[in-house]
């Protein structure tokens, strides 16, 4: 079964007041259950693309399909439920006064009855191993804990796909490893936006490189990371001493 969950075709986008095409003919197709890394240097348009997948920026040119739904005003609520976006700065995503309320925010907006909310919240926190944080204040959590809770806030909406924008930013090595393990255990289709190449290798069999607002390479992560010329041409670099072939 190769049911496409995310199908993006010829996306073009310019921020108001600028002539720079941040997205310039971006096309991509991600099948159900796939884990794909989206690699690219700073400013290559990755975050702009993530915002498009949640209908947070208005489509200017091109098309986006999520399963059988075309991106558009009438499908927004369902698209936002299907595609769970985890943003780069967890502080933007955690805005309530307790972890419980934050995780309940999405499902409550979806109309989950109050009597069932607690169970939904506990299940989502359980999936990320953060049950113990339920009554804590989000501002006071560590970087790794915030990331887990941020992921739980979208898991609570029962999404088909997860889109994570630079999920390793601000995490220590242990936090990074735990996050990789957590993602590996989740059944959803995943698009991991990152410039952390070892993390991409660890979590995603397939990678795409975005540069200048379009996909310039698409293939197995191992092959892409072994192509030193391709990486260099796109301002991507493996950490010092890292050897792909040794893994």
């Amino acid at each position: 079964m190769s049911c496409t969950t995310i199908e993006v075709s010829d996306l073009r986008f310019t921020y108001p007041g600028s002539h720079h095409h941040v997205l310039d003919g971006l096309s991509a197709s991600i099948a159900e259950g796939e884990r794909v890394a989206l690699l690219g240097p700073n400013g290559s348009g990755k975050t702009t693309f993530v915002l498009h997948l949640n209908g947070l920026l208005t489509l200017q040119f091109g098309s986006i399909r999520i399963g059988d739904l075309e991106m558009g005003e009438e499908n927004l609520p369902e698209i936002r439920r299907r595609v769970g976006a985890v943003f780069q700065d967890a502080d933007d995503q955690l805005f309530m006064q307790s972890v419980r309320e934050d995780v309940a925010f999405g499902p409550a907006n979806l109309g989950v009855p109050r009597a069932e909310l607690d169970a939904v919240v506990e299940r989502a926190l359980g999936q990320v191993g953060a049950e113990a944080l339920i009554d804590r204040t989000p501002h006071h959590l560590s970087g790794g804990e915030k990331r887990r809770v941020a992921i739980a806030t979208v898991l609570a909406m029962d999404p088909h796909a997860l889109v994570l924008d630079e999920p390793t930013s601000g995490l220590d090595p242990v936090g990074r490893r735990e996050l990789a393990e957590l993602l590996a255990g989740l059944p959803q289709t995943q698009l991991v936006v990152t410039h952390d190449l070892p993390f991409a290798l660890q979590t995603c069999p397939r990678s795409m490189i975005v540069s200048g607002g379009r996909v310039v390479a698409d293939g197995s992560t191992r092959e892409i990371l072994s192509n030193a010329e391709l990486l260099a041409a796109n301002r991507l670099e493996l950490p010092y001493g890292f050897d792909v072939s040794s893994l």
Binding site: D92, Q93, R100, A108, R136, H139, E145
Partner: protein
């Protein structure tokens, strides 16, 4: 793991709450909001000539401050917000016209003196009541209470966004202060605050952008303009009864003041 400060100071307006477990803290927020409102109305309606009635109001307010365990230091610091009103009140007897009375050799307007007393008494008692509310009830609790009290959702949403941005602004200010202090600038006093003032623009832009990102994160989780009320809890009748006590005493004082 996160540090041990589970409660206490959060960045932003969260810091108004003085953490505690007093009966005042535990009272249902909607009961506190209504009681505070009713109490302030009673104080505002009390005729200025009935000085003893203000004594009753003040006694009520002070007992609740004590019951809530709000430190006097905190109360006085927050009462500072009414200083502009008091300054204005002090000027009134000098400038108002009408019959004059002699105070320490200075001729002051009798009406002006009453006016000053009126403003000072009502402002300080009213402010104390709101300080008690904000010191024992967090902002989200107050907003949820307003929703439950059937205050139109649009108003509650606007207020929650104002609080949100204010919160972010205070938070950003804190971070900028930290980074300036780290560079050996000590902006403890107003007249040293020039670098802060000059970066206010940057602060505003950063807060605005952050606010936008928070808003986007809310939209992506199905936010459609109103905060969901995620708690299933009816206001306990006992809370209404307890919260009614202070405004009832104030009302009794008001009624006797008007009738007598």
């Amino acid at each position: 793991m996160a540090g041990g400060h589970v409660e206490g100071r959060v960045g932003g307006v969260g810091h108004l709450v003085v953490h505690g477990h007093s009966p005042v803290h535990r009272l249902a927020p909607e009961a506190k909001v209504v009681a505070t409102f009713a109490f302030v109305i009673c104080v505002a309606l009390t005729p200025r000539e009935q000085i003893w009635a203000f004594g009753v109001h003040a006694a009520v307010a002070i007992s609740i401050v004590a019951l809530a365990g709000v430190p006097t230091r905190v109360l006085l610091a927050r009462l500072a917000v009414i200083i502009p009103f008091l300054t204005f009140a002090v000027l009134v007897p000098f400038v108002a016209g009408g019959e004059e009375v002699d105070v320490l050799g200075v001729g002051l307007s009798r009406d002006g003196l009453w006016g000053a007393w009126n403003v000072a008494a009502k402002a300080s008692i009213g402010a104390t009541a709101s300080i008690i509310l904000s010191a024992t009830t967090s902002v989200p609790e107050i907003l949820k209470a307003l929703t439950r009290l059937r205050v139109p959702r649009v108003l509650v949403s606007i207020m929650s966004f104002m609080m949100r941005y204010l919160d972010l602004l205070v938070d950003q200010l804190g971070r900028m202060r930290t980074s300036m202090t780290a560079r050996c600038h000590d902006p403890r006093w107003l007249w040293q605050a020039k670098p802060i003032a000059s970066s206010a623009g940057a602060l505003f832009v950063r807060s605005y952008e952050r606010g936008e990102r928070v808003h986007q994160a809310m939209l992506s989780r199905g936010f459609s303009g109103t905060m969901p009320d995620t708690e299933e809890r009816a206001t306990p009748g006992a809370d209404w009864a307890r919260a009614a006590l202070p405004p009832v005493v104030a009302l009794a004082a008001l009624l006797s003041a008007v009738v007598l």
